[in-house]
């Protein structure tokens, strides 16, 4: 701590803060620094980075606003918070696009240097929101952030533009004072990241921001958030994409296989490729393909060659990979396919979150082409789901689809690290044994339980055989146009997927065993859980069931659903899971939908629960 705060410190269980500025203002850096510092201080936390698709939209415009919201808490939390209580806005566009999220009477720290007529014009504002009543009801703290930063970094001889670039660290200094955070983590970050004179300038800007907040009359108090009482163990802060990459590496290492990752860059999945490209010493190879189709096909070729092929993409890329996935289903080769969902259709909202690819994941290929589909529910769960994908793909010999989304991919939370030695190893179907000694090799002869075929890798003497996308004769794998055989093979491929229900966890609802059941999947976990917790505190009979396995479903799912009077299914789509539940189990699942590129708020789900309970009387 850089000296003792002179003003009173108020203890809080949780606070939510939002940094917003131009996409060139470094708000993502500011947010990540605040996150890591809070994580190291022992808080539970959840983050929501929210940035534009354009790398640098015209400066000062609403389109270019980049935000980072974080909730830190001394208790277990599941979401980045419904409404921030502090908004740090670097310009008018950042102010007006984020003000609506601020809670009533919240605090706005504004860089008033960026409120000239020209700045207002860029943000398409007819009048100054600081004077025209827009910010009425909020506590507005005007700070000459640009000027103060310029003065603070004056000794280091930076140009005007370069000086201005230090202002995110000035803002971070204010936030660190406000929440009584330590500088150490960020100081090390600056030292590692910048060369002189930028290193000294950024350090000076952060210190100046802190000093300014300390001496400023307008900030009446600072806040302290005690460390959370988390489950004992070792933690790190992790984003979904990073957790996923580590899970994929762990899975292939535990299977003793090489990981081949074929991918074509696409937002918001590219970070998986970036992470894996750094892990080559873990027997990981990455192939940046010429397109999405080649990414999937190269992974299939690699699996044919004895590695575990994987590919990751987002919605538009998944549409392109469809035919290749059919080939993996037909040739029964293991493959892991990751879809980090974003707003669709078409190019849609590349940097925003959505869950509208469930249909294409489960059904989106030509022919009867079943694939297991699993979905992560929190950033750290991406590790477990990636490991699960490897396990399932190697067990049943075929492609497994993993769904995450932009919110999970870029959001972060503390991750209770698993004990490496207690992670089980994963068996594969690799074989060099002839399965019909004295007779013809049977490359499509199936394991009795899983119905998986053997995995025979080219190079194995005596087991030469041919595979391909044409229909296979049972057992021999020879091309067959026989009608009865085709029907038999269609059923076998379906039964292979269905058989996985025997090796996945049963569905288990959290909360009451009667009343209202809220069923979710994917990144809505946090909002649903918190809404259900709050409703139960208010005495309502509510439960939460979160599905991680979407195809096949847990085998007791129908039975669990039928225990409840009402079933609500919140989804960031127009009801794709609810339609599957209705079709499979004939339950009156009621869909709650939101497709705004933003996650559900706890209050939105709570309102739906209350509404259903009220109707029940």
């Amino acid at each position: 701590m850089e000296g003792v705060s002179q003003k009173p410190v108020e203890q809080r269980t949780s606070v939510t803060i939002c940094f917003a500025g131009d996409s060139g203002d470094g708000m993502q850096v500011t947010g990540s620094q605040f996150t890591s510092t809070s994580a190291l201080a022992g808080n539970d936390l959840a983050t929501l980075p929210d940035f534009p698709a354009e790398i640098r939209a015209p400066a000062g415009t609403r389109a270019g606003v980049s935000g980072f919201q974080i909730q830190i808490s001394s208790e277990d939390i599941f979401t980045p918070g419904d409404a921030p209580e502090v908004l740090i806005a670097m310009n008018p566009a950042a102010l007006v696009t984020n003000l609506g999220r601020l809670r009533p009477a919240g605090t706005v720290i504004v860089n008033v240097d960026k409120f000239t007529q020209a700045d207002l014009d860029k943000a398409d504002l007819k009048s100054n929101p600081l004077d025209d009543g827009t910010v009425e009801g909020y506590l507005v703290i005007p700070v000459k952030l640009s000027t103060l930063t310029k003065d603070a970094v004056a000794p280091f001889g930076l140009g005007a533009k370069e000086s201005d670039r230090c202002k995110n660290f000035f803002a971070l200094g204010i936030a660190y004072w406000l929440y009584n955070r330590d500088f150490e983590y960020t100081r090390n970050y600056i030292r590692a990241k910048f060369k002189e004179p930028y290193l000294s300038a950024n350090l000076a800007a952060m210190q100046a921001g802190w000093n300014y907040a300390l001496t400023m009359e307008l900030l009446q108090r600072s806040f302290a958030v005690a460390p959370a009482k988390l489950t004992p163990g070792t933690y790190r802060n992790i984003t979904g994409n990073e957790a996923l990459a580590i899970g994929l590496v762990t899975g292939t290492q535990k299977a003793g296989l090489r990981l081949f990752f074929g991918s074509y860059p696409i937002t918001p999945a590219s970070d998986i490729l970036h992470s894996l490209a750094r892990y080559k010493n873990y027997n990981v190879t990455t192939f940046q393909a010429e397109d999405e189709i080649a990414a999937a096909c190269s992974a299939i070729g690699a699996s044919y060659g004895g590695a575990l092929g994987m590919t990751a993409t987002s919605g538009p890329g998944l549409a392109l990979k469809g035919e290749a996935l059919g080939l993996a289903v037909m040739t029964e080769l293991p493959l892991v396919v990751i879809d980090v969902q974003r707003g669709g259709p078409s190019t849609g909202l590349p940097t925003k979150t959505e869950q509208a690819d469930l249909n294409i994941a489960v059904f989106g290929r030509n022919g009867e082409c079943p694939m297991p589909v699993i979905a992560a529910c929190t950033p750290s769960d991406c590790f477990d789901i990636a490991f699960e994908a490897v396990r399932l793909a190697l067990r049943f010999m075929g492609p497994v689809m993993v769904l995450t989304d932009g919110y999970l991919a870029n959001g972060s939370e503390p991750w209770l690290l698993p004990d490496v030695d207690s992670i089980p190893s994963i068996p594969s179907r690799r074989t060099t044994e002839h399965n019909n000694p004295g007779g013809q090799l049977l490359p499509y002869k199936r394991d009795a339980e899983s119905l998986a075929r053997p995995w025979i890798v080219p190079g194995t003497p005596g087991l030469e055989h041919r595979i391909g996308g044409l229909e296979k004769a049972e057992n021999t794998g020879n091309v067959s146009y026989d009608p009865q055989n085709h029907e038999r093979m269609i059923h076998l491929r379906q039964q292979k997927v269905d058989a996985l229900a025997e090796v996945i966890p049963l569905a288990e609802a959290f909360g009451d065993d009667h009343g209202v059941l809220v069923v979710g999947w994917g990144s809505t976990f946090g909002s649903i859980r918190q809404a259900v917790l709050s409703a139960r505190l208010d005495g309502k009979a509510v439960a939460h069931l979160h599905l991680r396995h979407l195809n096949p479903f847990p085998k007791n799912l129908g039975e669990v659903l039928r225990r409840y009077d009402r079933v609500i299914v919140p989804e960031m789509n127009l009801g794709q899971l609810s339609r599957m539940l209705r079709a499979d189990f004939l339950v009156n699942a009621q869909s709650l939908t939101k497709v705004q590129g933003q996650p559900f708020k706890i209050s939105e789900i709570r309102a739906a629960i209350d509404d259903v309970v009220a109707k029940e009387g």
């Binding site: 460390p227 163990g233 397109d291 092929g309 290749a324 690290l417 391909g468």
Partner: protein, 352 residues
């Protein structure tokens, strides 16, 4: 695997410990061949089986990867490993396979529609990466399996089921396309040129890198005799020129020998019978010279003979070598991966 004999590009001589002597028959699968009777594919299949046996390749070390089309049924007829993939995507599948299993001898079978139309993107990227495999493009200038539409190598004006008034598309020249895409080995042959085709396939095998072979192939059902005016026994000596590295470029029937000379920075056909020119005036084929290959690739009938044999060869690092070297380097530099380190990262903390 190591190459059994010394390659023209100076690759290392093989270490062969008396490999079992396989015959052509060993490379024939038990599946009934379903190409139309009289199809040029039969000859290409037969020459390939012969060549693989002559090269002394163990069957398990050979993987045939194909796309979709008549030619792409090829793997089913080879008693080796084989993968009949999807339309146009064989280059991507073969790349993944070769990257993780670099000891395999990978042969990619494709056609003019598969490689140059639906798979055009993968085709050029395979060549630029220079993955060490052989690409056999069966060019019949027509879509056969879909029953007779024009292809990206069909000539302008081609009348087909989909172009009753004639095609208005300008065709690709596969050799020029391969050259532009950075291919390190480019050769051409034809289904009926039995001996020459075998020689070219062997040369392709010996080349380290992506070896591209365009093979003129007759589709006797939908585009019969498409190459007849070039490859027919009666005319081929005059309409084709068989290139040999380091030899002067001569061609023509016995009584009317001709040659190619470089004159005013252009190739031209010279008459070697009249006494005005001799073989010494002919340009010597240098397969390592990309400028010369550029000119050879543009030689078109009726003014020029069509070049056959190995047009171009150069050496460049293969993709899969660099790809796998990075894993070796990473292990050397950072040590073998330690999962605990990976999971813990650099910023973890403990809650008691």
């Amino acid at each position: 695997m190591s190459h059994p004999t010394e390659s023209p590009m100076g690759l290392e001589a093989p270490v062969t410990e008396d490999p079992p002597q396989l015959t052509k028959k060993d490379f024939m699968s038990d599946q009934t061949i379903r190409w139309c009777p009289g199809c040029g594919d039969y000859s290409i299949l037969s020459q390939t089986q012969t060549v693989l046996a002559e090269l002394g390749l163990p069957r398990e070390q050979v993987a045939i990867v194909s796309g979709i089309g008549c030619s792409s049924r090829f793997p089913y007829y080879m008693n080796t490993y084989g993968f009949h993939t999807i339309h146009g995507r064989a280059p991507a599948v073969a790349t993944g396979l070769k990257c993780v299993n670099p000891d395999l001898s990978v042969w990619m079978i494709t056609g003019d529609g598969d490689a140059l139309s639906i798979g055009g993107n993968h085709f050029i990227h395979l060549l630029r990466r220079n993955v060490d495999l052989q690409i056999l493009l069966f060019n019949n200038r027509i879509y056969g399996l879909t029953k007779g539409q024009y292809s990206p190598t069909s000539e302008v004006g081609k009348k087909t089921k989909s172009t009753p008034m004639g095609s208005v598309d300008h065709p690709f020249d596969p050799v020029q396309l391969a050259l532009g895409a950075g291919a390190t080995f480019i050769a051409r042959s034809a289904d009926v040129l039995v001996k020459e085709l075998r020689d070219v396939l062997k040369a392709a095998y010996y080349h380290k890198g992506s070896s591209f072979v365009e093979i003129y192939q007759n589709c006797n059902i939908f585009n019969d005799l498409a190459f007849e005016d070039l490859v027919a026994r009666k005319v081929r000596d005059d309409r084709l020129i068989f290139l040999e590295h380091g030899k002067p470029m001569t061609f023509g029937v016995k009584d009317a020998p001709k040659g190619i000379r470089l004159h005013n920075l252009q190739l031209e056909v010279i008459d070697l019978a009249s006494g005005e020119f001799t073989e010494a005036d002919c340009i010597v084929h240098d397969k390592h010279n990309p400028l010369l290959v550029g000119m050879l690739a543009r030689m078109q009938p009726p003014h020029f003979p069509v070049p056959m044999g190995v047009l171009y060869e150069t050496l460049r690092p293969c993709y899969e070598e660099g790809f796998n070297q990075q894993v070796t380097d990473a292990v050397e530099k950072q040590g073998p991966g330690d999962l605990k380190k990976l999971i813990h990262g650099s910023q973890s903390w403990t809650v008691k």
